[in-house]
Symmetry: C2
Subunit: 445 residues, 2 copies
């Protein structure tokens, strides 16, 4: 049997079938797809590969899926921390966005974010930001798999003037990437409180026609829910239900405020939930009832949120935070065990984005989106269970290799598709501009 | 002016004075002590140093103080996760300890832990485990500053047979290290539920005589408090108060179950509190009310706990977890800001252990216990505020240099006092033994 690439690893965690840990196995790739998983010894005899990769102390897992982020916001990383939410948004983030967000800003911020994500094991991300055309282009250059949001919000920005303009620009972008193997352009109305009924109805109709997910912040904070009740006489989820949006194509992010009946409703409607534990903690947004959602059968994925509210795009850390926080919040140390956290960060993310036939697990036939983690470091020794070490002890620095669609994006921690020195120089230039702007504006921090 | 070492850094965060960020400064060391902090330009003109270290993209901070750990338990890292507390303890940890804990086990486990701590920026740790004499010896070899606990518990172990034996062995160890510049042997009664009144009274008397801290798990879980009430008719804190132990020399670890009156009492008695956020989450022990304790004026330090319940000894991650969790639990995104988390992980830890005249901040005259963190990586760019980047975005892999008492223990991530290949080989050997033992015992997992 011939293969393009044959990867031998100490452990392979295919995620499907659930719970499986393979030892001393190999994964063969042909034409960007997973051809087979088999014991290394057999593979050495049976498979003739163009390239052979040896990972003697590593775990090979599906590439991580960051199911919610705002990539360009890496340029705001640490700009304003430890502030009340409204002060953070109104006095820092929104003014900074109004002043600085442009095609160049988005390009530099997206590149920084994608380099960070590749270095941290992420092969696929779901983005929502202005100038999604620029982020899509950078994703294409980086070679990452991406769901790029057609952002829609009821206020003008440098990207679009009104809701029709947002939609039109979004749909043009969707058209442009219609046949792209890696970039999928999906709907991304910002949040119930920032998008009115009419544009949401259009999204409902178009998403059904085009069979695309609808990526949206939902029930992020108690205030949001209270304001929703005050403005519409309904909790936001109930309003989305009335608009027909509670459906399997809704990717509802945050969901920290959920009553029992809402959990049942979300489960019944097969809504996708994205949990962002570090962002929810940092902004004191509340606790997503992850254990209850999973128990109710809801597909819960994992996201980092943007770097302004996290402050990194580290999915390994996010898995750990999710697994720890679910235990703390539910009072049950057996809640969200390590394997389930890994599943959230891979297969559940793929499912939420409608990509589960392509990525999220190492089933033969799927695209070869892979991440290798070296467990040989002191910090993850000894290894009794590789999954426990990945979720509870491994750091992003232990990610050594990354492939998307069988193409290597990182090898031995060297980025292969992005120009690291340029990314760092750009980030520092933007810092200088922002700091100069802040000094000129006494209203800033 | 002459110095042994002169370190130029992009940023220096001395922790004292509070909030200070110095840019392009240098720190001079003579005879193991901090001689001066001054602008790099001046230092280059005024100071003649034997060794000059250039840290052009780094933040230099006080070495981190891990105020609660069980170093040898690194060998149990990931042995048994995601289990109810009592099943975890009774079916996994205690049997494994009974079967395996020995001088050799403690030596190998301590070495692994200390290598990990050095790589993660920790210069001082507070330990509680069997065979503290072995851990003290390894700390001495590693060159780390350590508070080593005279463990005291009401059941026999391979280390001691009964409470008198524990105390006697502990005091002999204390005697041995009486004049050691780095190792301080302190009291360490395990917990109110595992140590009776009589031994605790002896500790009270001896700690006052010898002027030593008393390191103890207190109010870790709700069950512990309820059992305390059932056994003694008192909540454990009240019992400790009756025994005279609520005093500035008590280092009370965990403290997740605290009523308002107890917070006031703890503040009034100037008890030291050690918060272990990741361990408390993972074991679903409850939430330490850190924001309230700090507001009440309590000195709150930070610890990782042992690697069996964390599962790493990463104080940078622990700072981040503490800062995030305090916001989530208090509902206030301004709670526990980044600088305060750094203070907890440095100065407050030193204070808790009675070492604040020696370590925990970069005041001239203190011992040169230092940690350098390279903020030039993608993951911490751009830098608007180095403290925010350290707490919210930096990873342990960005720690490049470590000094204790002016002596380098790590340089450009190379360990200088410990033998990394040997540590890794030992860890793997212990894994093999434990796994063989587990297969032989069908009662194990």
């Amino acid at each position: 049997m011939d293969a393009d690439t044959l990867i031998h690893a100490r452990w392979i965690i295919p995620v499907e079938p659930a719970g499986k840990r393979l030892e001393h196995h190999a994964l063969a790739i042909t034409d960007g797809r997973i051809l087979a998983l088999l014991p290394s010894e057999e593979a050495r005899q049976q498979i003739e590969a163009t390239e052979v990769v040896e990972l003697p102390g590593h775990a090979l897992i599906p590439g991580l899926v960051n199911a919610h982020t705002h990539t360009p916001m890496t340029l705001f990383r640490g700009l304003a921390d430890d502030l009340p939410l409204m002060e953070w948004l109104q006095r820092h983030i929104w003014p900074a966005e109004q002043q600085w967000v442009s095609r160049d800003f988005v390009a530099a911020g997206s590149r920084l974010a994608m380099a960070e994500m590749i270095r941290g094991g992420t092969t696929c991300f779901n983005d929502m930001y202005f100038f999604p055309d620029v982020t899509a282009q950078v994703a294409h250059q980086a070679g990452l798999r991406a769901a790029i949001g057609m952002i829609l919000i009821d206020f003008p920005s440098a990207w679009a003037s009104d809701s029709d303009d947002y939609l039109q620009r979004g749909l043009a972008l969707h058209d442009q990437y219609r046949n792209d193997p890696l970039v999928k352009v999906i709907f991304a109305p910002h949040a119930p409180y920032s998008v009115g009924d009419e544009p949401l109805k259009k999204v409902r109709t178009l998403a059904a026609e085009l069979e695309l997910p609808v990526h949206m912040h939902v029930h992020e904070t108690r205030d949001e829910v209270e304001q929703g009740v005050a403005s519409h006489g309904l909790r936001p989820l109930a309003r989305l239900d009335r608009l027909g949006l509670l459906a399997p194509d809704l990717v509802a992010v945050h969901m920290t405020q959920l009553e029992e009946a809402e959990i049942a409703k979300v489960a019944e409607a097969s809504v996708q939930v994205v949990h962002c534990p570090q962002s929810n903690l940092k902004l004191a947004s509340g606790f997503c009832p992850v254990a209850k959602l999973l128990e109710a059968g809801v597909n819960v994925a994992l996201g980092t949120d943007g770097a302004a509210s996290n402050n990194d795009l580290d999915m390994l850390a996010e898995m750990q935070s999710a697994a720890l926080l679910a235990k703390g919040v539910s009072g049950d140390p057996a809640a969200l065990p390590a394997f389930q956290a890994l599943e959230m960060a891979t297969l559940n993310g793929a499912r939420a984005l409608g990509l589960e036939d392509q990525t999220g697990s190492l089933l033969p036939g799927k695209q070869a989106d892979l991440c290798a983690i070296d467990l040989g470091a002191l910090e993850t020794q000894p290894v009794y269970d590789p999954v426990s070490q990945i979720v509870y002890a491994a750091g992003r620095e232990q990610v050594t290799h990354l492939w998307v669609k069988g193409i290597p994006l990182m090898r031995e921690r060297q980025l292969l598709t992005l120009d690291q020195p340029r990314i760092l120089a750009d980030a520092d230039q933007w810092r200088q501009r922002l700091e100069a702007g802040r000094q000129a504006d006494p209203g800033g921090r």
